[in-house]
């Protein structure tokens, strides 16, 4: 049997074994011990400050990209409201930050992630105020950073534009939820096996739910990127997104 078939078989069994897996979204209110809540908040604050300065600089240099920034923020709002069903039989949602990362870089996205998370924590009881530091770190720092690295790598190796956009969004999404798993495993090490056992538990649940959603997010991001690239080419050139003419 070819190697690929083993993978498919493995996935099939994983799905059978996890009929009601937990959904991966943000860490719930009160579900990180106070020490971890404070630690993640302290780690995240500098990123938000740098992000704020980076947005300020971009808007000062290129005032006409204001519209794109609003659109990138709104895109994240829309996507994080879409809870999609996944192969594990539970629901989770995309982050929508890959699009903004491609346009404005990972730093700016920390601020946008923070705004989206604050809104959902205050009004929707989704995520939480005590966990906003940890959630902003996974969704607004690690996710966009991975997205940016993926985009840059595909561009550097002269890969096609659509692949760069797709991988940036999909890998950024996956990285966000892997980080969430790590954060939960750090705060809740298993009595037997410690951190790694917990991580395996959280990641096997969270990452698998997220795979199809990462693909969905990649496709949605291609669609919005193509639409913007078709009509807003001068703004994109301001931001140096299009390295070569498509």
């Amino acid at each position: 049997m070819p190697v690929r078939n083993y993978w498919i078989l493995g996935f099939f069994f994983l799905i059978l074994l996890l009929p009601r897996a937990a959904s991966a979204m943000h860490i719930m209110e009160g579900f990180l011990p106070p020490g971890w809540s404070i630690a993640w908040a302290i780690i995240t604050i500098p990123f938000i400050l740098v992000g704020y300065l980076s947005i300020k600089r971009i808007l000062l240099e290129h005032p006409r990209t204001m519209m794109l920034l609003a659109m990138a923020c709104a895109f994240a709002f829309v996507l994080s409201a879409l809870k999609l069903p996944s192969v594990t039989g539970s629901c989770s949602h995309p982050t929508g930050l890959g699009f903004g990362t491609i346009l404005f870089g990972p730093m700016a996205m920390t601020v946008i992630a923070f705004i989206v998370l604050l809104f959902q924590a205050l009004l929707l009881a989704h995520g939480g105020l005590t966990t906003i530091g940890a959630n902003t770190f996974s969704m607004g720092v690690i996710g966009p950073f991975v997205a940016f690295a993926a985009y840059w790598l595909v561009k550097k190796t002269k890969g096609p534009q659509w692949l760069a956009v797709f991988l940036a969004a999909a890998l950024g999404n996956l990285a966000t939820y892997i980080t969430t798993s790590v954060q939960l495993a750090l705060a809740f090490p298993s009595e037997i096996g410690g951190f790694t056992a917990s991580l395996a538990k959280f990641a096997s649940i969270f990452a698998l739910t997220q795979v199809p959603l990462a693909v969905s997010e990649g496709i949605l991001t291609i669609l919005i990127f193509n639409a913007v690239a078709a009509y807003g080419i001068s703004e994109l050139k301001d931001l140096k997104v299009i390295l070569k003419e498509g």
Partner: protein, 106 residues
Amino acid sequence: MTAIAKKLKSSKKMLINLGLIALLIILAVWPLLTLSEAGFEGADGEAEAVILEISDSYEPWFAPLLEPKSGEIESLLFALQAAVGSGVVFYGLGYMVGKSKKESSA
């Protein structure tokens, strides 16, 4: 580029976009059709269960300040979030389309 070639290119783009949208719908509908037993709860509550399984004495030390009164209110807020967001996205797109048309005719 001749007018015909331009038209062909734009209809090819349209086809690709339609294909991508179809793929999105399949990705969302597929699990619903194949996993008829699953709950599709989506609630973060299921992640709580895993935490409580690992450390069964854990008590959440902070509760959300405001909680939507019911599933209906929650879906209202989520719908508003998506509606306002897509409003801004498409306002921006429309603005760009209008501007690029004006520039090309000038």
